[in-house]
């Protein structure tokens, strides 16, 4: 079951990816991301949580990174760029020289409680059946699996739409990154914040990484530098400092170290294979 939710978390929503920087210090590394606050957002200071981490890593690695925001679908379909987000969204269509996880997020199911007085209990994928489920367009990786399970998704172009539709009863629930969902609710419906219920999916943690295209110049070297930068800010406490700021002084970053290490090894393995 954990595997199922892991899979769900893998294809679902937010792709808060990073990208490698140009090797030459004077030339910034161009990275593409989807606007998904609080992880990636052009309107937030230092491009949001993950954006700030990428900039800190870059600074620690002696690189300059520049984040460009594009729709998720476009990010997935373009295969010559550097991406920031969940590697699972992009790896099916594109080969990367380096994948550097920089942040961990969890996927959550949200519903508007006044419209579901009895509450919604989701323990298995099959429990989603019969609900109108909203999902961000492009976030659904494996259509066939869910269609076979009889689960129908209604895709929207923005996370805000998902919550607004949910409020109007046009969908029953939506699946988004937990922090992003809360951030949207706080922004759009601050007075009704408590009317929205989120269900954390166990084992749904997923990385948000910097993905450097295979053909990007010095991509592997830049990836190494990003990894070194990450290690550097972890050691310096910069990472914890950034996370504390975004999680109301909760030391969530401590919980990230183990999965970051694990995902780093997984994707570093890919790098190593390619190196060989």
């Amino acid at each position: 079951m954990h595997m199922k939710f892991r899979l769900l978390a893998a294809f679902a929503l937010l792709l808060m990816a990073g990208s490698s920087a140009g090797f030459a210090q004077e030339q910034p590394v161009e990275l593409d991301a989807n606007e998904s606050p609080p992880y990636w957002s052009a309107s937030m200071p230092m491009d949001g949580l993950c954006g700030e981490i990428v900039h800190a890593i870059s600074a620690a690695a002696g690189l300059v990174s520049h984040i460009n925001y594009k729709p998720l679908q476009r990010l997935i379909e373009e295969d010559g760029n550097n991406d920031l987000g969940n590697p699972n969204f992009y790896m099916a269509n594109q080969d990367f020289a380096a994948i550097v996880p920089v942040c961990i997020y969890q996927t959550a199911i949200f519903y508007y409680a006044p419209r579901h007085k009895k509450g919604i209990n989701i323990q298995r994928v099959e429990d989603l059946k019969g609900y109108r489920i909203g999902i961000l367009s492009g976030a659904l990786v494996d259509h066939a699996y869910f269609e076979k399970a009889g689960i129908v998704f209604e895709q929207s172009y923005s996370r805000e739409s998902l919550f607004k539709k949910m409020l109007l009863g046009r969908i029953d629930l939506c699946i988004v990154a937990d922090m992003a969902g809360h951030q949207i609710i706080s922004r759009l419906f601050p007075e009704q914040h408590d009317d929205f219920v989120s269900i954390h999916l166990p084992g749904s943690s997923a990385p948000l990484a910097i993905l450097l295209d295979k053909n990007y110049p010095h991509a592997a070297a830049i990836g190494k530098r990003y990894r070194q930068g990450l290690q550097s800010i972890i050691k310096s406490g910069k990472l914890d400092e950034i996370v504390l700021k975004h999680f109301d002084n909760q030391h969530v970053s401590v919980e990230w170290l183990e999965p970051l290490e694990r995902f780093s090894r997984v994707y570093n393995f890919i790098d190593s294979e390619e190196d060989e």
């Binding site: 172009y157 739409s161 109007l168």
Partner: protein, 643 residues
């Protein structure tokens, strides 16, 4: 002002006005049509837009995506025709734009109004209304388009008018104006007396006909002017040579003198310079004011009479004082053409003198004639008296003649009556003597037979005489009837020849008949004609001893002439007058032998003239023979009085 323009600007102005009116009408129609079309187009556009938007806004409204809605509204507002737009939906979705004064798209701040086309529609997703759209299309652009249309129409009208005007002016100039100018130039030249110009327009249209007409007119005018010049020359020649004194002046109030002929100058001693006007001439001609007024008064009277009777002005005789002081008696005539007055005077001075002499002679002659007339009247009275006497005698003679005619008629009636009374006993005498001579009453001795034979012959002679007398008396008394009928001339001559043949045969005389070819039909009294022919032929046989008798006939006009000729003893010229007298028998050696009553020719003539409307004639030479001719009309004219 237009009236004083030349024909070219007039035509061009007229064409311009007509074309402008026509094009304005057309463009007005086009404007109205375009306005309607644009309004319809705008209505259709509004329908299309609202239909499309109702579809397009399903996703944004369903997604409750305010930004998306706003962006779409902004995109829609890029269409300048869209004046305002309002989108409202659940989830506090509300987007509204309206145009400000500078036609920028701005948020709606108040009610939307104006000359707008309004449409609205619900946005429905799966049968559920999720929002509502209102759009307001502005008619400003329609009006602008129409304004552009007006401007374009004006430009088009102006341009087309100018173009058409240009080309029509070119065409008019070539077709009408230039030829007319040529015509004008030629007519002006003609008016100035220059006939050397000729129009060279060779066209079959009205202009060409006009040019031909003007050329012809010019030729005619020139011809007439030549004729007038010639006429004037002749007139002047005649006036110069005229024995009449002529003074020509214009017909204006001043009556300025224009011409005096040599006779005038010779007669009165004045040249035209001496009498430059009638006002100068009159005091010189009639220096005595009283006499002048008398002459003027007579002129006025004659003039009024002529005007009243619509006749010519009768001449006025006046004594004119000449330059040298002498006086002339002039008979003045006057004619006026309305432009020129002509006074012409005939010098009667010598005539009047001669008249005075003549009058004196006339008086003397009249006195002599009166004397002679008295004498003639006396003679005439005497002659009239003699004529009356003669007339009286003539009347007496007429009365005597009438009495004689009456007596002659009584005589004839008496003879007819008496002859009839005689014939009855004669018939008994002849009949019984005949019977006795034939021995039916018994045998006669020679003496008795000889005596009875004398009685019988005397009776027959007397009967023939009485018959002739009866015939004559009937003819003369007008009691003889005529029975006309159609018959053949050949036939009657054959019958007459046949009847006479035995007599001729006894004397061994031949009878010859000479007839024209072809038969001649007569319409007359056959019996009377036969009687006449038998008389002629029996006379011929009686008075011919040897030779032959010839009977001939011929047509002469409407008459027929029948002649009986013999080779007998002939008739002396001295006996000719007595030939047709009654009871006249000419003295010949055959008188006793032939016998006769002496009434045959007389009766024949009477029948021929009185009954057959013809006549008889005779030609004879003593010892050689005679020819008796009878001429009668082929067709007898029926006269009721001829009975």
């Amino acid at each position: 002002m237009i009236r004083h323009l030349d024909i070219r600007p007039k035509i061009i102005l007229s064409l311009l006005v007509i074309m402008a009116l026509f094009l304005l009408l057309f463009e007005t129609y086009h404007y109205v049509d375009t306005k309607q079309e644009l309004n319809t187009e705008l209505e259709n556009l509004a329908d299309l837009k609202i239909t499309r938007m109702a579809e397009e806004y399903i996703n944004p409204l369903w997604e409750v995506d305010g930004e998306w809605v706003e962006k779409d509204i902004d995109i829609e507002m890029l269409d300048k025709r869209l004046y305002a737009m309002v989108v409202s939906a659940e989830g506090d979705i509300y987007g509204a734009r309206v145009r400000d004064s500078q036609w920028r798209s701005v948020p709606v701040a108040g009610p939307i109004s104006g000359d707008l086309v309004f449409r609205q529609s619900d946005v429905v997703h799966d049968g559920e209304k999720i929002g509502h759209i209102k759009i307001y299309l502005s008619k400003t652009f329609v009006l602008q388009a129409l304004n552009h249309q007006i401007v374009r129409a004006i430009q088009t009208v102006a341009l087309l008018s100018m173009l058409m005007l240009f080309f029509m002016a070119l065409a008019l100039n070539k077709i009408i104006i230039r030829p007319l100018q040529q015509v004008l130039e030629v007519t002006q030249a003609v008016a100035e007396g220059d006939y050397s110009h000729k129009l060279g327009i060779k066209k079959a249209d009205e202009i060409g006909q006009l040019a031909d007409g003007i050329n012809h007119m010019q030729k005619s005018i020139q011809q007439r002017e030549d004729e007038m010049t010639e006429l004037n020359k002749r007139f002047k020649g005649m006036a110069d040579a005229s024995p009449l004194a002529i003074y020509l002046s214009n017909s204006g109030i001043e009556q300025i003198g224009e011409y005096v002929n040599p006779t005038f100058t010779k007669l009165f001693g004045y040249a035209l310079e001496d009498v430059p006007s009638v006002a100068v001439w009159w005091p010189k001609a009639y220096p005595d004011a009283k006499y002048r007024e008398q002459v003027a008064s007579e002129w006025r009277e004659k003039l009024e009479t002529a005007l009243a009777n619509k006749t010519d002005i009768e001449p006025v005789e006046a004594t004119v004082t000449c330059k040298d002081g002498s006086e002339k008696i002039i008979s003045w005539g006057f004619i006026s053409t309305g432009q020129v007055d002509c006074s012409f005077g005939l010098d009667l001075t010598e005539i009047r003198k001669a008249e005075r002499v003549l009058n004196s002679l006339n008086r003397e002659l009249e006195q002599r004639v009166a004397e002679r007339t008295g004498q003639l009247n006396d003679i005439n009275t005497q002659l009239e008296s003699e004529a009356l006497t003669l007339k009286k005698r003539e009347s007496e003679l007429e009365i005597a003649n009438a009495k004689l005619k009456e007596l002659d008629q009584l005589k004839s009636m008496f003879i007819a009556s008496m002859s009839h009374e005689l014939r009855t006993p004669l018939n008994s005498i002849i009949g019984f003597t005949g019977i006795t001579l034939e021995g039916l009453s018994g045998d006669l001795n020679d003496t008795q037979r000889e005596q009875l034979q004398r009685v019988h012959r005397a009776g027959q002679h007397l009967l023939a005489l009485i018959n002739d007398v009866i015939d004559i008396s009937k003819v003369e008394a007008g009691r003889s009837e005529v029975f006309p009928a159609e018959f053949s001339l050949h036939e009657i001559i054959d019958e007459a020849s046949g009847d006479i043949q035995p007599m001729a045969a006894e004397k061994q005389l031949a009878i010859d008949v000479a007839m024209p070819a072809g038969d001649i039909t007569l319409y007359t009294d056959r019996q009377r004609l036969l009687q006449c022919l038998l008389n002629f032929m029996s006379n011929a046989v009686k008075f011919t001893e040897r030779g032959s008798i010839t009977i001939s006939a011929q047509e002469i006009g409407d008459d027929v002439e029948i002649a009986v000729s013999d080779t007998g003893i002939g008739i002396a010229q001295s006996d000719m007058p007595k030939l047709f007298e009654a009871f006249e028998r000419l003295e010949t050696h055959l008188r006793v032998k032939t016998g006769g009553t002496g009434l045959g020719l007389y009766l024949t003539q009477k029948i021929c003239t009185s009954l057959l409307q013809g006549n008889v004639s005779v030609k004879s030479t003593l010892g050689e023979g005679s020819t008796f001719t009878l001429r009668i009309p082929r067709r007898l004219k029926i006269n009721n009085t001829q009975t």
